[in-house]
Symmetry: C2
Subunit: 348 residues, 2 copies
């Protein structure tokens, strides 16, 4: 049996904590092992990860603030990086990892298709990764899967693709509190408008998903149109964390369209709001043959993002050195999941 | 702009002819080009491919019987190989291609997951491919996509997978005549039983699909159970090619299950029959999160198989040398499809 993949968790916020939970649960397979944890928060430094997870006992993996120190004294294969959505914010962290010769899987949304917004940072990262013989990829449920990889994969059995339309409807009321806040649930319409002006509000990565699909299909778009609007609640809706009153903001409707010859041939339509009716993911391919793909009830993002990240670990390790997107990697699949262990865990 | 990928079509039967049609249609993109055609049928030798397609004019590509001669005097990048379902039958053809230093995409069903049935032939092919610096892959709509790659991809956002169940229901009445014959439509129950005994009747590749998914998930199965039964028509059904009478065979129900600890944790259930109700493809993942993926109306096989083959061409060229399965390649996607060209073609 091969040695387990050694993972350092970089970022111990809510997503990072879920990554740690998942990796620890998978350690029984002998395929993966948590070997280090980094977070800039001084409150977390010196604490064992089990303490941060609110569990008893000790894992022996202590969170430290100094990324470079952890990376230099912890032999590791991959960093699982979950600190921010924005590439300019995390760039120096990624450089630290790459310089230490470890592969990186990151939840940074802008990294899922990085060259468009950040050509210089991306070129630099790609060069550094190649120089150090490691691969980097940004992924998650969205961007990374639901509205881009899966959409592209749906065309894999099509000869002609004339148009491609992707929809995702998420009931934010069933998601964790940060997601409910992120989509503006409970805000007034005026507050929503203020937040929107920051340019860092709502779903991050829709433009990345659009450009990813366009590149995958070899399509050159004439024009891109993006719209972010509030979804206004038509009733009072209660979530475990808040009440969204009738007439206030329930969430976002975020849509983007790519045009060729005046036609919106590639559209991504995302609704994330509290109380959403008929949550689902859908890919409609107007092609030969046509494809009408639906994930009924939708892909539940809180667990799916962490899964997408952990599942990308063996795939990034198989890749050529460099900065990649998910379309360069082998097909996504669940990693380190043994039915016997899980059935036992569920029964216990 | 890069040079077009030069393709030799090996096998000019119904599927091969559709491959030629598709490649010729895509030549306008400048991304792909038909450069040669091989078929063992002496009736086809010396004929221009356009004549075989029943078209006027000449493409300049003439079918020849001598594969080695075509491969030696035609500079090519990839062979698109569509001659038989069985690896022992086509093995020498694949060896010819690989020795001439061309990549191979093949519709040979047994090649989609070749090591189980043919470990020695597969090891030899892999070695030859590596020695000659080329890659080989077997694919199509099924095996290759609907019941294996897509099923595996559906788990890409799951942490735990406890069970995975795949269904495909195909209305054979809407497919070409060879497919209707292949599934036994119109046979008596006794004739079906006779055909079944040959071991080369019905759908080829279900075992390959099962083992592909199991390997992708890292699952080791204790036991495999496979069943092939006739679907008996409950009414008279008319297709463009035949009438299936009430009480006669309408097609096949082919199912396979992989067991762990006495549980059928991985099942593939395929129904292909004339008059099938509610054709669809579905992947049900009992996992975290659960995934309930459906392709409504199903993936239409006649066009999808050819598309899957042509779309695999650029992917196999990006792969390391050797004998691969679709899980080693980057994610499938439509190739050489430009919306503008297609809209013009449709309008014309």
């Amino acid at each position: 049996m091969s040695k387990p993949i050694r993972v350092v968790q970089f970022g111990v916020g809510p997503i990072g904590q879920d990554c740690i939970r998942t990796i620890l649960a998978k350690e029984a397979t002998g395929l993966i092992q948590l070997v280090g944890a980094i977070d800039v928060d001084p409150e977390k430094a010196g604490k064992d990860v089990t303490e941060i997870l609110g569990r008893s006992g000790r894992s022996g993996i202590v969170v430290r603030n100094d990324a470079d120190a952890v990376l230099s004294d912890t032999p590791a294969d991959v960093v699982l990086h979950t600190t921010s959505s924005f590439l300019d914010t995390v760039h120096h962290q990624l450089v630290q990892c790459v310089r230490r010769g470890v592969h990186v899987v990151s939840s940074t949304e802008e990294l899922s298709y990085p060259y468009d917004r950040h050509p210089e940072l991306s070129t630099e990262l790609d060069g550094l990764a190649k120089h150090n013989g490691v691969a980097i990829v940004g992924t998650g449920v969205n961007p990374g899967y639901a509205m881009d990889s899966l959409a592209l994969i749906a065309t894999g059995v099509c000869s002609d693709v004339r148009e491609l339309h992707v929809e995702r409807v998420v009931d934010a009321g069933k998601r964790r509190l940060p997601l409910q806040k992120k989509v503006g649930a409970g805000m007034t319409i005026a507050e929503f408008a203020e937040q929107k002006k920051t340019g860092r509000f709502g779903h991050i990565g829709l433009r990345e998903s659009l450009l990813f699909v366009a590149e995958g299909l070899g399509w050159s778009l004439d024009r891109i149109e993006e719209n972010l609007d509030p979804v206004i609640s038509d009733r009072d809706v209660q979530t475990p964390f808040m009440t969204v009153a009738n007439g206030s903001v329930a969430g976002i409707h975020h849509a983007i369209a790519g045009y060729v010859d005046g036609c919106a041939i590639l559209t991504l339509d995302l609704k994330m709001y509290v109380g959403a009716r008929e949550p689902h993911d859908a890919v409609h391919v107007d092609g030969s043959p046509p494809i009408d793909l639906v994930v009924r009830e939708g892909i539940f993002g809180d667990t799916a993002t962490v899964a997408a990240l952990v599942n990308a670990i063996p795939l990034v390790m198989k890749s050529e050195p460099g900065l990649h997107t998910m379309m360069d990697l082998p097909i996504p699949r669940a990693f380190a999941t043994t039915p016997t262990l899980q059935k036992k865990a569920r029964a216990a």
